[in-house]
């Protein structure tokens, strides 16, 4: 039974179809990247999978349950696209990560030992154990992204969905992300992530689904980097340096 199954998924914004008839299946223990140029509908597809964008046609199932009737959201770890704006009231990294445990807690009851342990373990996993009590506003963009990843990990997900986790982050965060994906896949978790560029993730992925204009144009082997990026010793020290190559693979922009 696939963890995610979409059949003919179509999403429209204001009458214009952004995602058109996408069929996608992700099994447990599988890591799949959704790729494509800006405006290809890849973020919208993922938003539809988690129920943040309404389907105009087609069907989506999560763990074999139609998504509209799916209630067991604590099995899903979601990393939204990071917005640049700082939040109004300060919050520590541990407080943000603790939001990932709320699905496990009965409303109004205090956190139990298991919840606190999960928060500490998740922060540790993304390399931010020492920053648990720092205000999120004072962290770098990459560190903030890792806090959001830790929040998704805190729920002990069987399905991890990440929207553009690699945008504007440093090499350390890219490496942490690749390690997290590898660990989770080994633990039998399904991973679906939206990205422009694969970077250090390339070898950890089982498949890449490439969207263009809302349709699937490729579903299979992740695209290999070309030129000097194909060199296994090549270090992606500059996260933005390989953007052009990957974009070129789908016909520019």
């Amino acid at each position: 039974m696939p963890v995610i199954a979409t059949r003919g998924a179509t999403v429209s914004y204001g009458g214009r179809a952004v995602v058109r008839g996408v069929d996608l299946a992700v099994e447990s223990g599988e890591a799949v990247a959704v790729m494509g140029a800006n405006g290809s509908g890849k973020s919208t597809l993922v938003k539809a999978v988690v129920g943040l964008a309404p389907l105009a046609a087609g069907a989506i199932e999560l763990f074999g349950v139609p998504q509209r009737r799916f209630r067991n959201w604590k099995r899903v770890g979601y990393v939204p696209q990071r917005t640049g704006a700082a939040s109004g009231v300060p919050a520590t990294a541990a407080e943000v990560v603790a939001q990932g445990r709320l699905g496990h807690r009965l409303i109004g009851l205090p956190a139990r030992r298991g919840d606190r342990a999960a928060v500490a373990r998740s922060l540790e996993e993304v390399g931010l154990a020492g920053h648990a009590h720092c205000s999120v506003d004072t962290l770098s963009g990459g560190q903030q992204q890792r806090v959001l990843i830790a929040r998704a990990l805190a729920t002990d997900p069987e399905l991890l969905i990440m929207d553009e986790p690699t945008v504007g982050v440093d090499a350390e965060t890219q490496a942490a992300l690749a390690a997290v994906v590898a660990d989770r896949v080994d633990a039998g978790c399904a991973v679906l992530l939206v990205t422009h560029e694969l970077g250090p993730l390339t070898d950890r992925l089982d498949r890449a689904v490439v969207l263009a204009d809302g349709r699937v144009v490729h579903d299979g082997e992740p695209p290999r980097p070309v030129g000097e990026h194909a060199d296994p010793r090549h270090q992606h020290a500059h996260p933005h340096a390989n953007g052009e190559d990957t974009d070129d693979l789908w016909g520019g922009k």
Partner: protein
């Protein structure tokens, strides 16, 4: 000091102090989520709607606090439905509350002409000193209930206030919590109108929170600090107004504004001092481009 104590020998001063402290404690407990949600003006919006509620009380002969509570809760439900189910943006809905609330209040008071618009003034600007004991207990119990509810629900409320979309995917009852937040705001507005008045009620929701968040790092500290600051500001306001014989609501708000201006200035100065101080240290974490012109001539970097 002796003067202060002697004032509190009067029962009306004890009543005023108890209600002000209750409001000072509960308003920031709700306000911290409103600030986080960027709904800081919602308290003012509901305050304007509450005016219609007071006028309904005049018209029907009911107790204004209860008619106000009913009206503001109804308004908050409508507001939340508008916000979540229609394309009406938050500030348009808010603008409608501002106009509609005032107009409804003045119109209905006009119909109930025996009470007169002048009577509305004690609800507009607060009249702590004329509250009776039963009213004070309603304020205290309502305020304590709101504060307790918000303290218990803090993790859930802060999750929906910080990132509603994430909260939805995490499976939280987002719609219910949003509605609960607006309804508790309505309760706070209704119980605080005696203390600070409907036109100033938003100040106690917002000022203590934005004052302490200049120096706090965590949401929890901001919430607890905000409640403590609210308590202090409200208490100081009542004492100061009694000593000088001026309206307590305005005094409370002015003290709050002064606290905010002082802390915001101090926080800005601290940040500035830290930045200039850091400029003399190795530019760790500073943008490299800034340092390049000076670094380039030296060989080997």
């Amino acid at each position: 000091m002796n003067l202060d104590m002697s004032i509190f020998g009067y029962e009306f001063m004890q009543r005023a102090l108890i209600s002000a402290l209750a409001v000072g404690l509960c308003a920031p407990a709700v306000g911290v989520f409103l600030v986080q949600k960027r709904l800081a003006l919602i308290g003012d919006g509901l305050g304007h709607i509450a005016l219609t509620g007071v006028a309904i009380g005049f018209l029907t002969g009911g107790a204004p606090m209860w008619t106000t509570l009913a009206t503001t809760i109804a308004a908050s439900v409508v507001m939340e439905l508008l916000r979540s189910h229609s394309k009406t943006s938050g500030d348009v809905a808010l603008a409608m509350m501002f106009y509609g609330g005032i107009a409804g209040g003045v119109y209905l008071t006009g119909i109930a002409s025996d009470k007169g618009v002048a009577n509305l003034q004690q609800y507009l600007f607060g009249s702590l000193l004329t509250a009776g004991w039963d009213e004070v207990w309603t304020i205290a119990v309502g305020g304590a209930a709101v504060a307790l509810l918000m303290l218990v629900l803090r993790p859930w409320m802060s999750a929906i206030a910080t990132d509603e979309q994430y909260a939805r995917v995490a499976g939280l009852p987002v719609a219910g919590l949003n509605l609960l937040l607006l309804m508790t705001t309505a309760v706070v507005v209704s119980v605080s109108m005696r203390a600070v008045g409907l036109l100033l009620v938003s100040a106690l929701l917002v000022i203590p929170v934005v004052t302490v968040q200049q120096f706090t790092r965590s949401f929890r500290a901001t919430m607890h600090g905000g409640m403590a600051a609210g308590l202090l500001i409200a208490g100081a306001g009542v004492v100061a107004s009694a000593v000088q014989d001026v309206p307590p609501g305005a005094t409370i708000v002015l003290i709050g504004v002064a606290c905010f201006v002082v802390t915001a200035t101090a926080a800005a100065l601290v940040r500035r001092v830290r930045r200039t101080w850091r400029r003399h240290l190795p530019p760790e974490g500073e943008p490299l481009e800034v340092e390049l012109p000076r670094a380039e001539p030296s060989p080997g970097g």
